[in-house]
């Protein structure tokens, strides 16, 4: 009796421990966080300057811009669609806002609202066309990527919009803490809010249902079209905000703002466990995924790896992350 009890209690302990561990791994973000901690440790060992104040600040600053878009992209992916036009929407919104403030001499707030309006309007257009006309999001938003790039040139004539009102430059120059400014504050606040909405609200739950199986969601009375269009509008507006923060940071409405972001954003959130097929992933995961991509890119620079290899690394990491995610789902969640 006694010895049996002594024997069984440690096994039970290891069992609960094992179950807890599995439960922890099954939480999507933990895997990415662990991978990122490993990478940070590796780069720091290779080159202690990786964790220098300057480098950490640089990473976080870049993450704040793309991260703002990643929040919207995550929500849109959860609803079962995605948007490739985010980069050119960011750029277009920035130059439109800049033109409104300079050439049209309108107040700064009107310029900012105009920029956000452009982003939201393009989002609405993407949403309506995808949902109502049934054109695949891939085609519609790829088309919008080119249209946006063309419109940037049309609006600016190919020249950066410069100089901008002082108020804009001030937004870009503000140091709230640790050398990080308004863009980072906005990014963190928006990420926390969005993560909470997806996890804890009716809106969020219905979003998962819509992306999981649109027909089922429709049959239980969810207006799936409205959810999808809303998510497209949100992505557009957040892209506009990100574009304008970059503009403030640069102090000019540059024509290359946002170029190439679309793939970084999608690669990042996918690394963070957001499913390309809809209905799965969290904002926390998506944001951590973006952070990890940027850590790798920066780390490779710091330890002196040729810049061509950085691109290769990003590609390899994305494929590996998705592969690991599939394995994780198959063995841990299925086995638990």
């Amino acid at each position: 009796m006694n010895s049996a009890a002594e024997l069984s209690s440690p096994t039970r302990d290891t069992q609960t421990l094992r179950r807890r561990l599995i439960g922890l791994i099954a939480v999507g973000e933990v895997g990415v966080l662990a991978a990122m901690a490993l990478l940070v440790g590796f780069f720091w060992l290779m080159e202690p300057a990786f964790l220098s104040e300057r480098n950490v600040r640089a990473i976080l600053n870049v993450v704040s811009f793309v991260g703002i878009i990643a929040i919207g992209q995550t929500i849109l992916l959860v609803a079962g669609e995605f948007d490739l036009s985010v980069g050119s929407v960011a750029g277009l919104s920035a130059v439109v806002a800049a033109k409104l403030m300079t050439a049209a001499a309108l107040p700064v707030t009107v310029g900012i609202l105009g920029g956000i309006g452009v982003g939201a309007l393009i989002g609405l257009l993407n949403g309506l066309i995808v949902v109502r006309l049934g054109i695949p999001a891939f085609i519609q938003t790829l088309g919008m990527l080119f249209i946006g790039q063309g419109l940037i040139q049309v609006v600016t004539g190919g020249y950066p919009v410069y100089p901008l009102p002082d108020a804009i430059n001030d937004i870009g120059a503000t140091d709230l803490a640790f050398g990080l400014g308004w863009s980072f504050a906005f990014f963190i606040a928006a990420a926390i809010l969005a993560d909470f909405v997806l996890r804890r609200t009716v809106l969020g739950r219905n979003m998962y249902a819509t992306g999981g199986n649109q027909e089922v969601a429709h049959l239980v009375g969810i207006n799936t079209n409205a959810y999808k269009i809303g998510a497209f509008i949100l992505v557009g507006a957040l892209s506009a905000v990100a574009g304008m923060f970059v503009m403030a940071d640069l102090g000019s409405g540059g024509t290359s703002i946002g170029s190439g972001w679309e793939l970084t954003v999608i690669a990042g959130v996918v690394v963070g466990g957001v499913s390309l097929f809809g209905g799965a992933g969290t904002v926390a995961g998506g944001v951590v995924g973006i952070l990890m991509l940027k850590v790798v890119q920066s780390g490779l620079v710091v330890i002196g790896v040729n810049s061509n290899w950085q691109q290769i690394a990003v590609g390899v990491i994305m494929v590996m992350a998705v592969g690991l995610d599939i394995v994780r789902r198959r063995y841990f969640i299925a086995g638990a």
Partner: protein, 538 residues
């Protein structure tokens, strides 16, 4: 004489048959086939055979085992997954796959249309086939010429160069048959080939089958339609509960024999007593409802009038594709529909499932994998989805309240899952079905539409679901049920509506008839439309 040997009923070898009988030696046969799916015995020792130049009808209600048998004969269920022997030309064959069966001369035309819409007719006919002697290259003209030859041989009038996207579903079916015939099969199995065809098209198909018969092809013809069996088949085998109920020779063909053997007396199954009196007020009233057929299905439903009283269980009987599910979809706002719908004597305008739910109507769909479960959400969230507003304040989910209502719902319906956070994939079919019941009942609907409520669930859960249905009726819920298993429908319902060709063709109350009356009404309606189509068209 043959005491220790295998059962003497089998065809044995070719040589044996020459001695023993006057009937032609069977070309293709199944001997003592048994198969079970995780404890459910789908086939219990079935013998079946077909001879060269014979058309052998395979009949039986849904769930009788027809498709399981065909899947074994066709290699979908590979050798080793069943017991018993399949023989071709007297030699035992073990097909590993449908491709293997095809290579051995056993062709199969599935019920669903599987064509490549972007390709031409000729390309479809030869899709996946090699052996035209051109190696890797596709010789377009040659394909078209060969397809043309096959078509004229069969009396099919389709241009081989046309794109399949432009064909009617009947023509597509003929293309699929041509695709099977290209390989010059010795055995051809056709699974409900007329399901999507009109009367004249059925005649054209019969012409093709008669030519194949003359060429000595052995054919297995699966159907629900008795007039077609009478028109073209030489022999019929009726399956019931995974066994051969009866084999009928052509000279004994009458509608009565078929109906009797298909319904028959089955194993007694217990249906709970529905004792409480049915309410007097109409919970659901439908007037002149016409439902558009969605893509793929030819039939919608036309001019449907029905009422369901509070506490009444009404069954919609009819064959697959008769329009019975479309009636439910029309009422629920899932399919586009016109007509008047009243719930508790109040007119409601239903344009979407959301409207139907607001009016107190709930629907349990037929296919829980395709349009029931959300596999990306855990068990608990699957129950509460669509029912979240009472569990939230200002759009914010109240975690504790949600959890307790999930636990209560799971207990009430006896949903067995390790926790509310478990993945729905890991639940058995029965538990998944009970989970969906928990979802639709969360809103306490006044009218409950059930489409195949016991499809793919084990016997114990089946019984639980029957009890639940009767309990709901006794609480005053109005239930409208579609079920393919007639016995189930007859045992459960207070009143029956028989649907054929998108219309209600018969209505009777419990005690005024049983399975035989349903089958008779369906057959009569089919014979009528068959006659209309063959005479009416020039």
């Amino acid at each position: 004489m043959a005491l220790p040997g295998p059962p003497a009923s089998g065809p044995g070898s070719l040589r044996g048959n020459i001695l023993s009988s006057t009937t032609p030696a069977p070309l293709f046969s199944a001997n003592a086939i048994a198969k079970n799916f995780g404890g459910v015995q789908a086939l219990r020792g079935v013998d079946f055979d077909v001879s060269a130049g014979e058309i052998h009808a395979l009949l039986g209600q849904n769930g009788a085992g027809k498709s399981t048998l065909v899947k074994i004969l066709n290699g979908v269920h590979p050798a080793g997954s069943y017991t018993g022997a399949v023989q071709l030309d007297g030699r035992t064959v073990s097909f590993a796959s449908p491709a293997d069966a095809r290579a051995n001369g056993v062709g199969y035309v599935p019920q669903e249309i599987e064509v490549l819409e972007q390709l031409s007719v000729a390309e479809n006919v030869f899709a996946g086939r090699t052996g035209l002697g051109d190696g890797m290259l596709v010789h377009q003209r040659k394909l078209e010429r060969r397809a043309g030859e096959i078509f004229s041989d069969l009396g099919i009038n389709i241009n081989p160069r046309a794109y399949v996207a432009s064909l009617t579903s009947a023509q597509r079916h003929l293309v699929m048959i041509a695709r099977a015939i290209v390989l010059k099969p010795r055995v051809l199995m056709l699974d409900e080939p007329t399901a999507s065809l009109s009367g004249t098209e059925v005649e054209a198909l019969f012409g093709v089958l008669r030519r194949l018969k003359l060429q000595g092809v052995a054919m297995v013809y699966i159907t629900h339609r008795l007039p077609e069996v009478l028109a073209i088949c030489d022999r019929a085998t009726v399956l019931r509960d995974g066994k051969v109920a009866v084999r009928i020779a052509r000279e004994d063909f009458t509608p009565e024999t078929f109906i009797f053997s298909m319904s028959g007396q089955r194993m007694e199954r217990l249906f709970p007593e529905h004792a409480a009196p049915i309410g007097t007020h109409k919970a659901l009233e439908v007037r002149g409802l016409t439902v558009a057929g969605h893509s793929g299905a030819v039939h919608g439903a036309k001019d449907i009038n029905l009422t369901v009283a509070a506490g009444e269980i009404v069954g919609l009987a009819g064959l697959l594709g008769s329009g019975r599910s479309e009636i439910l979809h029309g009422i629920y706002g899932r399919a586009r529909a016109n007509g008047e719908i009243r719930v508790a004597d109040r007119m409601v305008h239903i344009k979407s499932p959301g409207d139907a739910r607001a009016a107190g109507i709930a629907l349990l769909t037929e296919d829980r994998k395709r349009d029931g479960l959300l596999f990306n959400l855990p068990v608990g969230a699957n129950i509460t989805i669509g029912n979240l507003s009472p569990l939230a304040r200002h759009g914010l989910l109240r975690g504790g309240l949600e959890r307790s209502s999930i636990v209560a719902a799971m207990r009430a319906l006896n949903v067995k899952a390790s926790s509310p956070k478990a993945a729905v994939t890991h639940l058995s079919g029965g538990n998944q079905q009970k989970l969906l019941f928990a979802r639709v009942l969360m809103r306490a609907p006044k009218v409950l539409l059930l489409d195949e409520p016991t499809k793919g669930v084990d016997a114990a859960t089946r019984h639980e679901i029957y009890r639940l249905i009767v309990e709901l009726a006794e609480k005053g819920v109005a239930l409208l049920i579609v079920a393919s298993e007639l016995e189930e429908l007859i045992g459960l319902c207070d009143r029956y509506l028989v649907v054929a060709d998108g219309r209600i063709v018969d209505e009777f109350a419990r005690g005024e008839g049983g399975e035989d009356r349903v089958l008779r009404s369906i057959t009569a309606a089919q014979a009528q439309s068959h006659a209309r189509a063959t005479q009416g068209d020039p």
